[in-house]
Structure formats: structure tokens, C-alpha cells
Symmetry: C2
Subunit: 325 residues, 2 copies
């Protein structure tokens, strides 16, 4: 049996190797993804995002255990880290903090490291999720550190997005909240045992009421758009985790019944394809223009002989002749 | 006089309009950037990044005032926000918190909003910095909210990068620290009057000592690589701001003397050009393939008839015939 077949048979080591191929973006990895693709499309992907300090990792840990226990399906966790200059990859920290879930043989945990290319992280994470989906993980949790655009991109790869908040994270967190509220299906105030948790809950509720005024209309329409669920939790003690898994399953069911699942799945795949094409185009453009010419262009820009905009007009086009026409 | 000429003459309203054109990525904005480019290349760009809750905005506010006072040069602040679904753009919060600096006519403050395209924010921020540079701002502070990959991308557009930390931000912030330590020229522990500040300083110092062991060798080589400066500050009271401006000016001088400035400037412009080309290639590819065909491809992928990898192989290439050859 080759690696793909062994992966499909559920062999852990093979799965780990497939993930490494995908993460390193090797031709073998691309080929494996192509072969695994027909087996995918069954997993439910859950994105977990929010600012640092909110305790996302602990929450992901607990959620993995609870989903595993309740549904009987296998659970995978993808922890998406900024790359560390020290470890040359993802930090050990997340794995340590997840040791509880890691001791369960039906829970698979993997840290993804950014390789520094634009959009590269979202693309390799999508590939990793596809591998795990194909080899039979029913739930795939994608945990992102931070709350910037690239984290939002990663979260958009999921079917259900959990945004985690916590009390006492200061002032400028408000900006983050507004930015990612848009993508939240479930909002969790973690560390709810800390002072100020009530205020945080109240502030989020107020924002939700502004964003979803129809929540308060008595339309009685059951197929109306999803209203984000607001919860509180204490991941370290497990408080609120039952409600969280319930909310995740409720959202999954909602997506199935409303047809939203298919829509999100299609959008997810469309984005994945876009990421693939964008990187490929750039690589091919570089090859076409040539290292020497690219160096010359960069030099002229650095000398301010031409602007980046002019250089774009002169060299940035896809050639007009199209052999596909 | 047209808009570009009025901007070059220092007219505030014209500058604001130019920035809007660039932010909205209009053809007029691209043309303006091309015309402004020869006037640029004099400003020193300072990136300020770090996790939410560290008080970056207050620090940027203080730094803007101090640089203005000490150097006599005009100072601009670009606050890079995740887009808000409510305001349709950047939040008012940053501007409010910056009101002190905003009342100085020689300090220009602008919030940049992400338009949601991959890499789009870094690109429009680079454009905005180019406008401000060309119209005579000597210092341009680029403040990013968050610490994810896209924020790091934005920070890399700067000559000097300040990473802000604060005590008591919890556990998973450690992962962030390691990830952005790599790009820090200056590290500031803000809120140094809070409990735990000493621990945060100690932890950062230990990380720096690991990353820069040569700091402890007595090589006596003055042109050795830059050793990040570690500082503490209390932005709300202004404590430590003098040391911070000193460090920023010291780094700027170091870059000039070591030739590093030219190197960073070239790298900055190379990245800006890459962002431009990537977006252009994608736009042109979409046009070439056509909306209908793209829809068909997406449909086939969604139906799992072909994998994204196969679709990439079939449609993702730049056509072989190259009219530039």
C-alpha cells in the first residue's frame, strides 16, 4: 500500500506524513490531495479564532474531547501558529497545552506553521483539512492565533466559526471584535470566572443586537438567517463546554437543513482554488520574467527610475495570446 | 493645479483625497502613485505592532508627538484596522484615542480599512505610505492591530519595527512573541506600571539573549547586526517615550550608516511590486478564463468531480505563448 492508501486505512504515521507533504507544498503532496479529494466532503470544519490571551487553545482542547465523547466521531485539531524563528516551525506550546486531548488515540493534533508566503498558510491549512477529512475525521477544529486578516482567511475555510473573547483584554480589542463579529457563528466569552466577564458579555450582546435587529422581530420564519449564539465558558474547568458543543452541533444541523452547508462548502472550495491559482500564477510569472529581469526591475524601482505602478503596467500582465482560446 | 500637485504643495484635503483614491484602489489612485513615486523615498517608516491590549495606539500617539517635537519633521500615522461590518471601514476608536496627536496640524492621522482581498491591506497601506512620503512627511508610523501574518506583512513595509508587549496578557501570547520577535528592531513593554512588568521584561530579555548570543561576545565589531533594543514605557503618562524616540532615531541612524536603509527600502519596494503583480495576475486570469467558465470549474469542484489540484493543473497556468518574449 502506498502512503495515500495507508492514510485512507487510518494509519496515523501515514496521515502525519501526508500532512507534512501538504504543509511543505511538495508535488507529492499535491498529487496526494488530488487522490484524497473524492474521499473528502464529509467532515465538519470548525474554526476557532480570537485575540491572544482569550484561552482559545484550552477551549479547543475541551471542545475536541467533548465532540469526541458526544458524537463518537474522530476529531482532529489544526493549530495554526505564526512561524517561530527559534523552532523553525510551530511552537511546542500549543501541543503541550493540548496534552489532555492528545492522549486520546482518536484525537489527532497538528500544528501548522506559516511558511511566510502570502496566502500560503490558508492554502496549506485547507490542504491539511482536506487530508484529515478524507481519512475519516468527522470534526476538524482549526484554531488560529491572532485576529488579523490572515486568521480571518483561515477561519473562512470552516463551516462553523467560533470567535473567542475574554474579559479584561483592554481597549483596542473592541476594534478586533467588530471586525471578526461578522464571521462569528458562535461567540464565546471564555474565562467567564474573571472580573468583568459580565461587561464583556453585555458589550457583545449589544453589538449583536445592532448587527442582527431581526432577532427581535417576531417573524416566526424558521429559515431566517443564523443568529450568532452568545455563550460564556471557563475552559480550564470545563464550565460551559457542554453548551458550546450543543451550539456547534446546532449550527451544523442548521447548515444542513437550510442548505447553507453546501453553500459554505462550495465557497470554501472556491477560495481554496483561488489561493492555489494565485500562488501558481505568481510562480509562473516569476519563471516567465526570469530572475535576472526581475532583479533588474527591482533595481530600477529601488533607484526610483520607475514606479511600482509603471513596472506593473510594463511587466505585470498575463500575455495576451492564450493557447486555451 | 490638479490633485497630485495640490498634494505635493502640502494641501491637507488633497492628501486625504489621494489617500482615499489609493485605499479604494482606483485607476486614478494608481496613476497618482506613479506620479508621486519620484518624490518619495525620503520618509522613515516605523511599524508598530503587537497583540491587542498592549496599548499600541496610545504609544503611537505619544511617539508621533515626540518625533514631531524633537525632529521638527512632519509626522503621519497610518492605523491599520480590520474592517468593521458596522462602519464599513475603520472604527472611530483609534482616531478618538489619538485625539491628542490629531490636534497638531503637522501630524496627519489616517485609519486604513481592510477591503478583504488577500494581501490587499498590505498593498494599499504601502500605497498610502508612498503618498505621505511624497508629500513631505518625514516620519510615517504604521500601527497594526493584532499580530497575525498579515500584520507582520504590513510591519515588513517599515524601516524600523517596534513590537509592543504588556504584562499580564496570558499564556498563548508567548507564541506570538516568538513569531514577531524576529521582525522587532525595538521591543517595548508598555503598561510598565502594572504588576508583572518585571516578569515580562525578564522573559523578553531571555528570549533576546537566546536569539542574539553575539550580544554577549566582546567582538568589538561596530558594524555587527542590529541588536533589538528592549525598553519599558507607560504610554498613558508618557514615561519612557523619550527613550523610545531615541531608540527609533538610533535605529534610523544605524540603518543609514550600515547601508541597511537602502537594503530595507529595496526589499520594501520589491514586496510592494510583488503584491501589485499578484493581484493583477489574478484579476487578469479571471478575465481570461471568464466568469462562466470559472463558475463551471467551481461547480465541478463543489460536486467533487475534480479536485482543486486537478483544476489548477488544467486551468491555473499562464498560457505558454508569451508576447513579451
Amino acid at each position: 500500500m502506498d502512503l495515500v492508501e495507508r492514510g485512507l486505512a487510518g494509519e496515523r504515521l501515514a496521515i502525519a506524513r501526508l500532512l507534512t507533504q501538504v504543509e511543505n507544498d511538495t508535488p507529492a503532496g499535491q498529487k496526494a490531495l488530488d487522490r484524497l479529494f473524492p474521499h473528502s466532503g464529509k467532515a465538519h470544519l470548525v474554526g476557532i479564532t480570537g485575540a491572544p490571551g482569550t484561552g482559545k487553545s484550552s477551549l479547543a482542547n475541551r471542545l475536541a474531547l467533548a465532540l469526541r465523547a458526544e458524537s463518537g466521531a474522530k476529531v482532529a485539531v489544526l493549530a495554526v501558529d505564526p512561524s517561530s524563528p527559534f523552532s523553525g516551525g510551530a511552537l511546542l506550546g500549543d501541543r503541550l497545552r493540548m496534552k489532555e486531548a492528545a492522549s486520546d488515540p482518536d484525537i489527532f493534533i497538528r500544528s501548522m506553521a506559516s511558511r511566510g508566503t502570502l496566502g500560503g498558510l490558508a492554502r496549506t491549512t485547507a490542504g491539511a483539512a482536506q487530508v484529515l477529512d478524507a481519512v475519516g475525521f468527522g470534526w476538524i477544529l482549526i484554531e488560529t492565533v491572532g485576529a488579523g486578516q490572515s486568521e480571518v482567511d483561515v477561519a473562512r475555510l470552516a463551516h462553523t466559526v467560533i470567535v473567542v473573547d475574554a474579559p479584561g483584554l483592554g481597549d483596542d480589542i473592541q476594534a478586533i471584535k467588530a471586525g471578526i463579529l461578522e464571521i462569528a457563528d458562535i461567540l464565546v466569552v471564555n474565562k467567564a470566572d474573571l472580573e468583568g466577564a459580565e461587561n464583556t458579555l453585555r458589550a457583545l450582546r449589544a453589538m449583536l443586537e445592532m448587527a442582527y435587529p431581526e432577532r427581535h422581530s417576531d417573524s416566526g420564519n424558521k429559515m431566517e438567517r443564523w443568529q450568532p449564539i452568545l455563550l460564556s465558558a471557563v475552559a480550564t474547568t470545563g464550565e460551559g463546554i457542554f453548551d458550546l458543543t450543543k451550539a456547534v452541533r446546532q449550527h451544523a444541523r442548521y447548515l444542513q437543513e437550510s442548505g447553507g452547508w453546501k453553500h459554505r462548502e462550495a465557497e470554501r472550495l472556491r477560495r481554496e482554488f483561488e489561493l492555489l491559482v494565485r500562488d501558481r500564477l505568481w510562480e509562473q510569472w516569476k519563471e516567465r520574467v526570469g530572475v535576472k529581469q526581475l532583479h533588474k526591475i527591482s533595481e530600477m524601482i529601488a533607484q526610483r527610475e520607475i514606479s511600482p505602478q509603471r513596472a506593473l503596467a510594463d511587466w505585470g500582465d498575463i500575455p495576451k495570446n492564450d493557447e486555451h482560446d
